[in-house]
Amino acid sequence: MQEKHGSGNKNIQQTLGSKVSRRDFLKMMTAVGAIAALPGNGLLRRGPGASVMPSTGYEGKDAYQVFHNACPRNCYDTCGMLSYVKDGVLKFVEGDPASTFTRGGLCVKGYSYPRSVYSPDRIKYPMKQEGRGTGNWVRISWDEALDTIAKKVLELKEQDGSLLGLGMTKYSGNFGITHYGVEGMMSSLGYTTRFVGTPCWPAGIDAQNFDMGNMWCNDPEDMVHSKYIIIWGANPSINSIHSMKYINEAKRRGAKVLVIDPIFTQTAAKANEYWQIKPGADGALALGMARHLLDKKLEDKAWLEENGEGYSEFASYLRREITVDWAAEQSGIPAERIKQITEEFASVKPATIWLGYGLQRHTNGGAMVRAIDAFVAMTGNIGKVGGGARYGHLFTWGFNYNALVQSAPEGSIGYTGVTGPMGEFDTGQGGNAATYTDRAFNINKIAQEILDAKEPPVRMLYVANKNVLSQDFDRNKIIEAFKKLDLIVVADLFFNPTVEQADIVLPTTTLFEDWTVNVSYWHYWMSINEQAIAPMYETKSDIEIASALSAKINSIKAGSCTFPENIDPKEMMIKEFNDGIYSLFGINSWEDLKNGARKAKLVSSASWSDNKFGTPSGKYEFKSAIAEEYGHSALVKYKEPREAYASYRLLTPHSMYGLHSQFQNLDWMLDYNPEPLAYIHPKLAREKGLVDGDTVRVYNKTGEVQLKVSVNDIVPADTILMYEAWYGQNNPFNVNILVDDESSDMGKYKTGAPGVAIHDQFAEIEKA
């Protein structure tokens, strides 16, 4: 059956050759979707008489089947969820009360899930686009889709003698453990090109690894014990709302909360004090504070004596090259405040600093994290309950990665050369000249890598759990690079900008239609994700796709793929569990999770409580030889920030209404956040003759966007603030049109590639 789907007003008209309005078209598609989707669309409310009072409200606990799910998004809070299903339809969701962290509530995004599952815009069946970017989508069968993909893979093997021409980019669209089956699918085909690294947090990971030998934060629930909390370049009021209750409780018990951020964020509004720091000067500020500790003799000498490798050299450096006044000048924070807060922080125990990910999205991000870590270490707060330099952890991620670990078919040829880890979740050692490995490219520079790749070039790209055209950098370059690809296959839920550039789109399941298990990189809970409703339309989860592709390609040419051909997704989930996980969580079986989320049994809520660090010296390293190996200063030192390349700093942090390009496209979310805005200070507004609601052009060397302006003093007068999000098919707004792919300093050591200096961007602004 041929059906058409347009991906924009222009394309709809081209496709249908008539003046069908978008509203009519969507209604038509909704009707088609309704037929294809029953009973799913039984959820949409109907007219008078069909409703009970009030329509579809809570019908009593016996009315529903309740399932446990876990939000698989890239979020600190990774909520345990309860799904209430009636007659095979998901009626509503709630947070899992079994988790003290989730405490029964989700967030504005989580609560919009039912609308996402049953959205008429959801991709329902495999489709191919006749002419990339034209919107001429034609429905095809799974058989045809897999056949096309399989044949192309075999063709690449013929052509190049290896599968290095097949590239795969994936990141955090779904962190359910079984979704590593995408990597597994690639491995099971042979040695391929992987876009490795992470745009998110690599500089900080490396920094914490240089300092302590691992990224390992305290249990966030122990913040209630903190007497002093500095939230530095993090915004939990948007990005970790469940953490706020611990901060509030600490405050209630008398703790002081300081927020350091370029923007007066919602978190800053809840603090006792807020510092509007100059972006990129956080390292300078931390070093200045460290210097002041020395001046006032407030450092924890005993702890540093025992545990501080290279500390005396660091102290000498501070005395020689850092002053509080210098730090004040760099950061814009008055010296008097720096001194007072430093003294306050050092005079109570425990005290803690929460280092955010926005903090390290700079060319000097890793160096800045090292400096802040050092300050915490000097106050003797590492390894203390309620203390610590908190960033993140992977402590609870010790699954089998059964879906991930697949062997290449016999006779596969791969990349020979030194490689690093294939991402932050790769605990392997990488490769060397003696073995074949995948070819690793920097995920953050996908456009440049594709443009430069040769022997062989990247000819085919598989994209899953990532929205390249929304989230990757230098959009125009990406479009250029994609022209080099023969075949682009995207597995996704919605017709997002990446799908718009695909040749084939494969419809995927939502978390409610999938079996998997989830943990967090912040808290210490684990949740099962049960399949609450049957997969809708013709959707398949990532491992089902892998399995189906394996069967297809082996039927064309036997021995082409080792991925198991007839998988049971539930079995695949069960295979992820091992004794390590069971004993860490104190459960006998994965089935225990059906009663609710479970928390890891920790020796202490504090990481590093035994002071046995994972560094070569076993101590906290103010001076790290490994750092030097990777081209950084061994000693914690000041590193210059990036120079401005335009008049105003451009900050593009996370919106609360979306998780990257998910959720904001839903009509329910548009009810709460209808459009993107550029926030500017009244002074800048006056300079440019702008008032609230004016349309502006924001532009720089990388690109241009147009949007409405909001005049607000939450931003500094030299800054333009825009929240990153995808507003759906008819809105081309994308902050990454303006963001270049300049790397952050660190990230290669532990994640295989450096990060991106997302917040070291600059732009001009004019009335449109």
Binding site: P54, K91, R103, G110, M244, T267, K270, Y274, W668, D671
Partner: protein, 186 residues
Amino acid sequence: MTRYAFSVNAELCIGCSSCGMACKNQYNLDPGMVWRKLYPLSEEIYPHKDRAFYSLACNHCSQPACLEGCPVGAYTQREDGIVVHNEDVCIGCRNCLRNCPFGAPRYNEEEGHVEKCSMCWQRIDEGLLPACVQACPTNALTLVDLDVDDVSSTVQYPPGFPYRPDLEPSTRFVLPVAPKIVRRDV
């Protein structure tokens, strides 16, 4: 006696809108229909835009204007103070929209009736919290019993909220506080 009310603590509120979306989720509201949302306080009240909010839905007044003016009796007031709207009885005349100074009732043009928050009375009757209250990550939005709980540190008519002692809205408020701010510029 029981007299349920929402307590809105704008100091604890982080503006996350979990409350609003939890309501949409519980009732599968049509797009465009919003029963609960955050109202940012104007700069005259809290000195920074978009940084302090009242989460408001229906205030379940003691003297509900919606109920008094409804020609078909679509509103009833329970013993515990909850003002319930019955969508089936409602004929969509929208007189209640003219009468509620708090904008609680919303007209659903497609369905031809008005809708509003009825305090999740079905959940309350089962001993559960209203969906919005359960959703709040910071206890900013809570359910109180005005006859039992200590609400002495709350106010009934904060700035930014209509002063209507003729209606006696039940909602209670705690006002937000601004932090010490260190700016590096103007």
